[in-house]
């Protein structure tokens, strides 16, 4: 019942705000989500419930604060609170995180209690996690995961939904600029000069590598690397012997496993013998507003970080400066040197080759 009344109440609140802000802002918004569905909002969404994990920080970034984030996934919340966003937006601790289970199955009553005017949910993962939302009459926007194209589209959708399309345009222009810059310079790199890169998506309990079709593969190729696991389809388990055969020049470690550090590679009897380990070119993805390995609002920083590490001779981005500039734009926050050290995980990269440049303040 609550949600049947809510739109009306939301409308009234919305009208009240529109009256204060000026009538021009109350134009309806029509969106086509990544599943091709039409989503219509009478006015910019004020309360967005974001079930997909990366969407929470995107809504914060596009909405310029946490006010519009009505609810999020528990995993997203811990990522926010553990990372820099928790420091920038301490009030995020109060945002409900019980709107969905870890399998993205929505908890409709908890969701309705957050009085959302828009729910963002995963598409392409079956109808079971969507039906309960549409059934309850909640305005639902579906997104899909995995490619840069999808990322740009859902960043745009999020920004338009909260009535700030210009912020997405800025973000995408930045993405295009950095992408073109890196791709242009990388084109000149001979295939033989491209380091063999392995992205390890899981390490502690079993080893998995990112193959063709994964976002990590896209990032590696953009930054002038050659993915040793290209013959695999997306994320697949591999054994040490296979990694020994690949003998990667650079090993990238996922940003998800908290206890995973380059030491894991250096201590492993087999992995420590790879060219990457011998040359100390084992890097763990940084953690900014979100983890840098999957697509997010800070992806250009990922690409610059990766390009610097893969081709120090060709790329010399001043990453600390870039982080400062983009954080000002995304979160209106000026990170301290200590913040940036934390984002780049300097302590665990003490012996990492090529990390000195990132250290220089």
């Amino acid at each position: 019942m609550a949600f049947a009344i809510d739109p009306k109440r939301a409308l009234l609140t919305g009208l009240a705000i529109s009256c204060l802000a000026g009538p021009a802002r109350a134009e309806p918004i029509s969106l086509t989500d990544l599943e091709g569905r039409n989503v219509r909002l009478e006015k910019p969404a004020e309360r967005v419930a974001a079930i997909p994990i990366p969407m929470a920080s995107i809504v914060i970034a596009m909405g310029q604060g946490t006010e519009r984030l009505a609810g999020m996934n528990q995993v997203a919340k811990s990522a926010v609170l553990e990372g820099i966003l928790g420091k920038i937006f301490p009030e995020a601790a109060k945002i409900p995180a019980d709107i969905a289970g870890q399998n993205f199955m929505p908890n409709v009553e908890a969701l309705a209690a957050t009085r959302p005017d828009l729910v963002i949910q995963w598409g392409g993962r079956g109808d079971d996690i969507v039906k309960p939302l549409t059934n309850a009459g909640l305005e639902t926007l579906l997104i899909r995961y995995g490619t840069e194209d999808y990322a740009r589209r859902y960043i745009t959708l999020a920004a338009r939904a909260v009535g700030k399309p210009q912020r997405a345009a800025t973000n995408i222009a930045w993405r295009e600029r950095v992408e073109a810059d890196i791709a242009g310079k990388a084109k000149a790199i001979a295939p033989t000069a491209r380091p063999k890169v392995l992205h390890i998506q899981n390490a502690l309990t079993n080893l998995t590598a990112a193959g063709t079709g994964s976002y990590e593969d896209t990032s590696i190729r953009l930054a002038g690397g050659s993915n040793v696991a290209a013959e695999l389809n997306n994320i697949m388990p591999v054994n040490r012997e296979r990694i020994a055969v690949w003998d990667p020049d650079v090993i990238l470690l996922n940003g998800f496993e908290q206890d995973l550090t380059p030491e894991f590679i250096y201590k492993d009897p087999i992995l420590s013998q790879t060219a990457a380990a011998r040359a100390k070119r084992v890097y763990k993805y940084p953690l900014g507003g979100y983890r840098w390995d999957p697509p997010n609002q800070e992806s250009p920083l990922t690409w610059m970080w990766l390009a610097n590490l893969l081709h120090p001779e060709a790329f010399s981005f001043d990453l600390r400066k870039e982080i400062r500039g983009s954080f000002k734009e995304l979160y209106a926050y000026d990170p301290s040197d200590a913040d940036i050290d934390g984002i780049l995980r300097l302590p665990i990269h003490a012996s990492a080759a090529g990390y000195d440049r990132l250290r220089t303040r």
Binding site: Q102, T205, P237, A244
Partner: protein
């Protein structure tokens, strides 16, 4: 007099068959181990592999330096050993339990030990625990499941096999639900894929550290069960007959359960849940040599070790990606079991 002659006639015939089956199986296992040592994704020629093993046997303390040596000694060898021990152990456990319960459809999963150990492992991954503590938690939960089964099944100071079976079912279902719960709350971008993969069973993480951790339990449990093989024949006669013959069925059953728990929990701790071996292998060995556990149990051990080594060699070499071993054993095991069932009931003329 008549007796002596029949025994004499039957004796050599029997023995020659035993020797034939025994040496055939040992040869098969040796062949599987050799192929397993030489096969792999990293190119090491068979002669080089054998030379590396030979040098290591002559000088076991020398640290491997070349990549080839590391691959053979640090990757393939511990993996083969774990596959052998786990395969032999699970098969012997299955055979022993089938005797104790007098039921050919019983497998090591039945006592709730596997689901218990699986829960421990999944919980460890969820909590971000890895390495030795993961194995420890998995092992502890496996044994804990058996203790709970024993507590539930003990009614009026006695435990009947059927109540143990039912209690095992209940505890197994409970732990399976708890594993589902853990999967439900696990981070889909982090621990969930790891949990799912671990539950499917794999020896990809085999290291010497894990061998030292799991091998003692698997070996001791398996060897003691093998030593019990004649007593298992007696227990298979049923409570009253076994008791009248001087066995103490209840106490001895718990001895068997405890040994099975040690073997299964050790194996689940290092390799996740690998099903079907403990069910199918004892059946095959009974088809080969009959029901007498004095023969069937050692044959199960050899066959189980061979089966697991072959399956694991396939798992790590068939494709670039690593195939979960538990999936392979199920895909191979289930059809074999179906064939055995048909054959078994066909023979009976049902």
């Amino acid at each position: 007099m008549a007796l002596a002659t029949t025994a004499d006639i039957a004796g050599p015939k029997r023995w020659s068959r035993r020797v034939l089956v025994g040496s055939g199986l040992i040869g098969l296992l040796a062949a599987a181990v050799l192929v397993g040592l030489c096969a792999g994704q990293f190119p090491v020629s068979p002669s080089r592999s054998l030379a590396i093993i030979g040098v290591a046997i002559l000088d076991p303390l020398a640290a491997p330096s070349l990549m080839e040596e590391r691959i053979v000694l640090l990757v393939r060898l511990p993996r083969l050993l774990l596959a052998m021990f786990a395969g032999a152990g699970l098969a012997v456990c299955g055979g022993a339990l089938q005797s104790v319960f007098r039921n050919p459809l019983v497998s090591p999963q039945i006592l709730g030990i596997s689901p218990g150990a699986a829960f421990g492992g999944a919980l460890a991954i969820l909590l971000g625990i890895s390495g030795l503590p993961l194995l420890g938690l998995s092992f502890a939960c496996g044994l804990g499941a058996l203790v709970v089964v024993g507590w539930i099944a003990r009614i009026n100071g006695r435990t009947e096999p059927v109540t143990v079976l039912l209690a095992g079912l209940v505890v197994g279902a409970l732990f399976t639900a708890l594993v589902s719960l853990i999967q439900f709350v696990a981070d889909p971008n982090g621990s969930l894929p790891a949990i799912v993969y671990w539950l499917m069973g794999s020896l990809a993480g085999a290291t010497w550290e894990r061998v030292w951790l799991a091998a003692p339990g698997m070996l001791i449990g398996t060897l003691v069960l093998l030593a019990l093989r004649f007593r298992l024949n007696v227990l298979a006669l049923g409570e009253n007959e076994a008791r009248s013959l001087g066995a103490r069925p209840e106490r001895e059953r718990w001895l068997v359960f405890g040994l099975v728990a040690v073997v299964v929990a050790s194996s689940v701790a290092v390799s996740g849940v690998i099903g079907w071996v403990g069910l199918v292998i004892p059946h095959i060995s009974r088809l080969l040599v009959g029901h007498d556990q004095r023969l069937a149990l050692p044959v199960s051990a050899l066959l189980g070790a061979t089966f697991m080594v072959v399956a694991d060699t396939l798992a790590r070499t068939a494709t670039t990606a690593e195939i979960p071993l538990g999936i392979l054993t199920a895909i191979v095991g289930a059809p074999i079991f179906a064939l055995l069932l048909r054959r078994h009931y066909g023979e009976r003329g049902v």
